[in-house]
Symmetry: C2
């Protein structure tokens, strides 16, 4: 299945009929993601409106997310850490996953062991359930692949102490699932000040550790990515380890499985995993060079505000609110690569 | 692209390795949808837990959504109204859309005119933007298909008077985008008692009318369905006319378009529309026979509660909350058909 993930870097939501300075090869899916949830509209022709929004009538001259990204400085962005970036290589291309070790140090350590020992290579995406998750792991339950030196059981890190997280920036908007929400290093998080706990929220593109009933029954051998509306009911119930920052359609646009829970009913429908590698394992030339907007920079506040109260001639009603999972942090290709 | 949409009717989230009484041909995607958001978990083996949850230890013997559906009575369900049901026929199968004329009477009247005059037949799905929408309409901007007797401009029905909606059942859970939320005849809605207004919310699967900048620039010739995390910022900005109740993967699993906003960059990637028909136009034998859980029945309250506070041995933390778009109304095949 061919999935094209080319998006333009400079423009937010340009009209599809305009000639565009497309940058071929750009894989910045999370930017598309951010723009989808943030800047894009549902009507076809309205896209032109954002391009025309620069000379907007005062006092409603609100910056769009595209404007904010365009006006950002290099220091508003950070590169991915190659020691905390996974490449899930599928036949259709590369899925880039940023890990969040502050939130799941032990599970991530086990996943890194599995990667180093090539556990995932040759396994498959087993499940694609509409509006829920895509999941990958070992298809052979009767004769499972050995875990080698990785642990078979890792205690769930469903929440971690707030002290683990030095980068929390609160979103003032109300949330039904957590006392406080915000972002930490670009990841959507919930926190409960009374319990002094924090956790990664199940937004679109977040990656978690499948488990059985016991809290310690997960080990990272089976992972899933959220491909639908945020299943926030899973928050604090399962270990979340990171988020997909590029290549999301390679998982979200997979055919849905016909068996219960979206499992593929025929082995040939499974999507084989060519390999999973830590970015640091690859030579520089083979890495994806992405950068993430710093969620502790003022530009991020402007990016959120541009989505909370949208300007431009298309919007008739400003929500005055943004929900945690509707404010994903922009990702783009590094400018100098 | 083959998309399989067979789901089982009786079971909630059975283990994929169990022998299952699958009912071939069942198209109840929205049930899968409801179960995805509601009953299913992200781990593979955990599915068995729900099956084992019957003799749960008191006092935590909570019903799962599957239990609620199983215990429901025929009167808890209503059939679709053939005069307000659209069949969008794609090469991969049928997408069933339930219209909500209480919320958009004029736009829906225009859409019905377009259907009756076969406007959509031969047009195409033009756009699939990851985590946002799939959109269909006329690919030929230079030489557009005539609208015949349909109106070219229909005033936006972004909100309607609360008096239009006789079936509202409030969800007590907090919401950031609307003063009150709930369901009306199975549709997710927001309402503002101060403004005496109500509107359909942009949850997964909802269908809306694409428009240009002017509020009356939509006419139903271009429609979209939400295929990602609920873009609630569109609420009160655009006319929503209904929701997809079956066949959602035929839209959600489409390859994403490579052009900006997810438009297909090559004409051959567009998905041709074979036809759009009102169910009432087809002979009985050719109709989809689906029923929707009545959102004004006590069983619906139980269904919501089963998702707000989940039981069973898998759940470690009960959210005590359900977000509007995480509580889709179950849909299933009619028992007697």
């Amino acid at each position: 299945m061919q999935v094209s993930t080319v998006v333009t870097r400079q423009r937010a939501t340009p009209a599809p009929t305009l000639p565009l300075p497309l940058k071929p090869g750009a894989l910045t899916l999370a930017l598309a993601l951010a723009l989808a949830a943030g800047g894009a509209h549902a009507a076809r022709a309205n896209a032109a409106s954002e391009a025309r929004s620069a000379p907007a009538p005062a006092p409603a001259a609100k910056a769009s997310l595209g404007d904010v990204i365009k006006a950002s400085k290099p220091g508003d962005w950070r590169p991915l850490d190659p020691n905390n970036t996974l490449y899930l290589e599928l036949p259709g291309g590369r899925v880039v996953i940023e890990l969040a070790p502050d939130f799941a140090p032990n599970n991530i350590a086990n996943i890194k062991t599995l990667v180093q020992e090539r556990y995932y290579d040759g396994l498959a995406v087993l499940r694609s359930q509409d509006n829920f998750v895509a999941q990958w792991g070992d298809p052979d339950e009767k004769n499972p692949k050995p875990l080698k030196s990785a642990k078979a059981k890792v205690a769930g890190e469903f929440t971690v102490p707030m002290a683990n997280d030095k980068h929390f920036v609160r979103l003032p908007d109300r949330d039904g699932y957590a006392p406080l929400v915000g972002h930490s290093n670009g990841f959507p998080v919930g926190r409960d000040p009374k319990m002094r706990s924090t956790w990664l929220a199940h937004c679109y593109g977040m990656v978690g550790v499948g488990r059985d009933n016991d809290s310690d029954s997960g080990n990272g051998a089976e992972l899933y990515a959220v491909t639908g509306h945020a299943p926030r009911q899973l928050d604090r119930n399962i270990t979340v380890v990171g988020r997909v920052v590029a290549g999301m359609p390679l998982l979200s646009a997979l055919p849905r499985g016909a068996a219960p829970m979206g499992y593929y009913d025929k082995p040939e429908l499974r999507v084989p995993i060519k390999s999973v590698r830590l970015a640091a394992e690859l030579p520089e030339a083979e890495r994806s060079h992405l950068e993430v907007m710093r969620s502790d920079a003022p530009t991020y506040q402007a990016a959120v505000e541009a989505q909370r109260n949208r300007g431009g001639p298309w919007s008739k009603y400003a929500a005055g609110h943004i929900e945690l999972c509707n404010a994903p942090i922009p990702v783009r290709e590094q400018a100098d690569k």
